[in-house]
């Protein structure tokens, strides 16, 4: 170290540091002088500019993404609507201004005052929404009385518009105002009070895609709160457009077929799980939500005995009836309790213990193999298969077929369904499983519950050789400029635990069910197309003996059976699978069969 101290010593460094100190003092003096200039000399002018509060930040709501069907037909768009807000800071006396406003528009003041009270704590320079989607006449009146209504501002905001009103409303969903809880949850960082967000269906499931990003606009306003100059705009980024897997032409047909009935009909492409149609009847009009739902209208919807707000395709849980025989058949064949050559005799009833279980055909079917039993839906045949299997073995196959758990469709509120087991019953009811109950379960009565989408997924898997695809309603997501953001690829959830041979036998039974005069689904046949299907008639309650055999119309509605039909076509190369459920429709083939047939016919014709 000594060597260097010869060249420069600490005095030399001291001298250099003094230079630096002077430099630093000069630099910081400049800052202090500048602060003095801005805050003391020019301060009053800047204070005036800031106090007049003439600069404001306005938020720009991003346009919500559109929804199209699989072929690009526009289903949901946005239309401009006029909203009336008040900026309490500009109004000086907000209550007086509100009185004036209600007087001019001839409306009751209570709701507007309630809005004001609700918005307590909102800074005085932020607008509080009073009325949404007002008429052009109201806008004209407000504009004409501008000077009497300080602080009242009219903004044009996009409002959701469902072009075909209640078409596919359960699938599309609806929007509603964001709640305080949702705002606080942190899941909606780009939303503010008064925003509409998806609350149901696709609108909810894809909310992050639809939303885009809020923009900002810095503006200068005059004493009335009117914008005099736009200083800076950060454009909002519009949301993404969604292309559904839905075929709107088929959807229209399905809804027409369901009109006047209570139930659901859904269709799927069995090769990839794409939902082609999903109708639930009765439906609601999502436009009513977008325009601001009234309390009365909501009450009507919520208390309707036919539950129009429920998507029966995924939320409805029903006994599967004879459609469940497909599961029993798979289990029986795979477990070896029957083979393709097994023949069982049906005299019209089956004796188990001291109980008699009836076949739906009083006179009996005679000697049946598995193909005939499926085609003619022989109860006695499947009682015996069920008895040999036992409830727990049967349940394993039911679970492997996707029953008892949600299919994972992109929509929320999907129900689980129920696959009963002996353990389940003991836990739930404290009573051990009774052997006779297995017989009921084997033909889809008893405790079993399924959702229509589960049955659609099941029949699709039978059609495609045993692969269960996740049902999907979203085909692809595009940005507003048309570039692809995301494309949904088929997701295989699992495979049936069934051999090709088993599935072929089942397929033959389902083809015969529709194409043989003895089949239960004869009504569904389409000349020239090989349709495969299965009826189901799900008992709601065991009918009183004297109600039985009465014409359907004379039975009390809530006691009538649910009607099922699940099918796919063409059997050789399946392009469409359908599941139809008509609540209290009576016999499966008569009530649900024609709906299924027309769906298949419509889709295959195009």
């Amino acid at each position: 170290m000594d060597r260097y101290l010869h060249t420069v010593d600490s005095d030399w460094y001291r001298h250099r540091v003094s230079g630096a100190v002077i430099f630093v003092l000069v630099a910081f003096s400049i800052l202090l002088v500048r602060l003095y200039y801005l805050q003391i000399i020019e301060g009053d002018e800047f204070r005036r500019q800031s106090q007049e509060n003439c600069f404001r930040l306005q938020s720009i709501t991003p346009a919500r993404g559109f929804i199209f069907d699989r072929n690009g037909v526009l289903l949901v768009e946005n239309r401009p609507s006029f909203n009336v807000s008040i900026i309490s800071g500009d109004a000086k006396d907000p209550k007086k201004v509100l009185h004036k406003l209600t007087e001019l528009l001839n409306i009751v003041p209570e709701t507007l005052f309630a809005r004001l009270v609700e918005a307590k704590g909102v800074p005085s320079f932020k607008p509080i929404l009073l009325m949404r989607d007002v008429s052009r006449d109201a806008v004209a009146i407000i504009e004409a009385h501008r000077l009497d209504l300080p602080g009242i501002v009219i903004t044009v905001e996009p409002t959701r518009h469902y072009i075909e009103d209640n078409r596919a409303s359960h699938l599309l969903g609806y929007l509603s105002e964001i709640s305080r809880g949702e705002l606080k949850s942190g899941s909606f960082p780009d939303n503010k009070m008064g925003d509409f967000i998806g609350k149901f269906g696709v609108e909810k499931a894809l909310e992050p895609y639809f939303h885009g990003r809020r923009g900002k606009q810095h503006v200068e306003v005059n004493a009335f709160g009117l914008v005099t100059r736009i200083l800076k705009t950060e454009e909002a980024i519009p949301g993404k457009n969604i292309y559904l897997t839905l075929d709107i032409k088929l959807q229209r047909k399905v809804e027409a077929l369901l009109s006047g009935k209570v139930g659901t009909a859904i269709a799927m492409d069995p090769s990839n799980g794409h939902i082609l149609a999903m109708a639930s009847s009765p439906a609601y009009d999502p436009n009513a939500f977008a325009e601001g739902m009234t309390y009365e209208l909501w009450n009507n919807l919520a208390s309707d005995q036919f539950h129009p707000m429920e998507n029966k395709a995924i939320q409805g849980q029903y006994p599967p009836g004879s459609t469940y025989k497909i599961v029993t058949a798979i289990a029986g064949l795979e477990e070896g309790v029957i083979t393709e050559h097994t023949r069982l005799f049906c005299p019209g009833h089956y004796r188990y213990g001291n109980r008699t279980f009836r076949c739906w055909r009083r006179g009996g079917h005679g000697s049946m193999n598995i193909i005939d039993a499926l085609a003619q839906s022989c109860d006695v045949f499947f009682y015996q298969v069920g008895e040999k299997l036992g409830v727990d073995r049967l349940a394993r196959y039911a679970n492997a077929c996707g029953l008892g758990s949600p299919t994972g469709i992109d929509l929320d509120k999907e129900a689980n369904g129920l696959v009963p087991t002996s353990v389940w019953k003991l836990n739930r009811m404290g009573i051990p499983w009774q052997g006779g109950e297995t017989l009921s379960v084997a033909i889809g009565q008893g405790f079993n519950l399924v959702t229509p989408v589960q049955m659609l997924s099941l029949i699709s898997a039978v059609a495609n050789g045993g692969i269960r695809y996740k049902p999907s309603v979203v085909g692809r997501v595009e940005s507003p400029d048309g570039s692809l953001v995301e494309k949904q690829l088929p997701v295989a959830l699992g495979r049936f635990s069934a051999s090709t041979k088993t599935l072929q036998l089942i397929m033959r039974g389902l083809v015969d069910a529709v194409n043989k005069t003895t089949g239960t689904g004869w009504i569904v046949r389409i000349p020239g197309v090989n349709v495969a299907g299965k009826t189901g008639t799900a008992q709601v309650v065991a009918l009183e003996e004297d109600d039985k055999g009465k014409p359907l119309e004379s039975q009390p509605r809530h006691l009538r059976d649910h009607a099922w039909f699940i099918a796919f076509a063409p059997a050789e190369e399946p392009k469409i699978a359908v599941a139809v459920l008509i609540e209290h429709g009576g016999h499966g083939s008569k009530a649900a069969g024609p709906v299924a047939r027309e769906m298949i016919r419509t889709y295959l014709r195009d």
Binding site: V17, I30, L31, R34, L35, R47, L57
Partner: protein, 370 residues
């Protein structure tokens, strides 16, 4: 490892200054985000995260005090190479935030290597200059090594692109070099080539960077575009008057007029709410830190410690000066944080490391008494 003499000579004043400035920073951040954030979560996040960074920074500072700073003289090259390596990695594997690739992400921690390189460059320059300093000053021939050491990180940072940090690196190196004296002829040559370089560089600047410089020269010319930030910042600062509008009462900030009010423009929030009085106090606090740092440089009895102190303190000085001057519309808008007040973990950590090394030099100054 630490004997009693070291604790006796611990520089409590510098530590206190850093803590006071950090505390002011948290209060100002709280105010900056509370009026603006619509979601309560965000409000908590920013100042809590900053407190967390200050705590971590204090830990790192204590670590920087424990070892004898002269180890840095020996480890200068490895430290430098490591930090340059990180800068190269960030170019290829860094996280991009709003169009600029500055961040290195390691699990939950993200860090800007460009901050670290400021310190490693000062260390390697201090080693070189302390060995070769003479009263006649450095000639161009002796300066080619420091020049290359400076230009490598400068180029790597500017291509990220982060012009602000790049310029700070250049300024720190220039300050240290001028401090150890350059021959007059060489100084004139370097100045001339620096000017020529910036003229050429103008053509390589991004559109928004050119706009900012033009807007600084004539803010009223484009009040809706780039000049907007400058005007808004001036209104915020000016409207503070002598005592300010009071804590949490700033209206310009509340309306989110201020651009990036919790990072680069944090001083305007402070000036609006605490007025000339509060802003002067903060400016004087920084002045005290710088003067105190320079006194450490003098009191260190060996050249490496002196030059190292000058380099580190120049880093704090230039960032504080440029940031405040930018907010007061004395300089164009460049992204330079206000040390210990602007929100940002990397900046806080770097400043705390620098403070730690200064404390280290300060308390070991008596160990070299001739």
């Amino acid at each position: 490892m630490i004997d009693r003499r070291l604790l006796q000579h611990f520089d409590w004043i510098l530590l206190a200054l850093a803590m006071v400035i950090g505390g002011i920073g948290i209060l100002t951040l709280y105010s900056a985000v509370s009026a603006n954030a619509e979601v309560a979560e965000l409000r908590r996040l920013v100042y809590i995260k900053q407190s967390y960074w200050l705590a971590v920074g204090t830990g790192v500072m204590i670590l920087s005090v424990l070892f004898n700073y002269r180890w840095l003289n020996r480890l200068a090259s490895p430290i430098y190479i490591l930090s340059i390596g990180l800068l190269v990695i960030v170019l290829f594997a860094g996280k991009e935030v709003s169009g600029s690739q500055r961040w290195l992400v390691l699990g939950p921690i993200s860090f800007q290597p460009s901050e670290l390189v400021k310190i490693s460059l000062v260390i390697i320059l201090a080693r070189y200059f302390s060995r070769h300093a003479t009263e006649r000053g450095f000639s161009l021939k002796e300066l080619w090594k420091p020049l290359i050491w400076t230009l490598i990180p400068f180029v790597l940072i500017v291509v990220q692109p982060d012009l602000g940090t790049g310029l700070i690196v250049l300024l720190i190196a220039a300050t240290v070099t001028i401090f150890v004296k350059i021959e007059r002829r060489s100084l004139m040559f370097l100045t001339a080539s620096g000017i020529a370089g910036s003229v050429v560089a103008w053509f390589f600047l991004k559109g928004y960077q050119k706009q900012r410089i033009l807007a600084f020269l004539d803010p009223e010319g484009d009040p809706l575009g780039a000049g907007y930030h400058i005007i808004q910042s001036k209104i915020a600062v000016g409207s503070g008057l002598f005592f300010g509008k009071g804590f949490l009462k700033g209206t310009q900030n509340a309306l989110s007029f201020l651009p990036e009010q919790h990072t680069d423009f944090i001083f305007s929030v402070l000036a609006e709410e605490w007025g000339f009085f509060g802003s002067s106090v903060v400016v004087l606090l920084y002045l005290l830190v710088v003067i105190w740092g320079l006194s450490i440089a003098i009191r260190s009895k060996e050249p490496f410690g002196t030059i190292l102190s000058v380099g580190l303190i120049s880093m704090i000085f230039w960032q504080a000066f440029i940031n405040v001057a930018m907010v007061l519309a004395l300089l164009p808008v460049v992204g330079v944080p206000l040390p210990l007040i602007s929100y940002g973990g990397s900046s806080v950590l770097t400043t705390m490391i620098a403070t730690g090394i200064l404390l280290n030099i300060s308390m070991r100054r008596f160990l070299f008494k001739e």
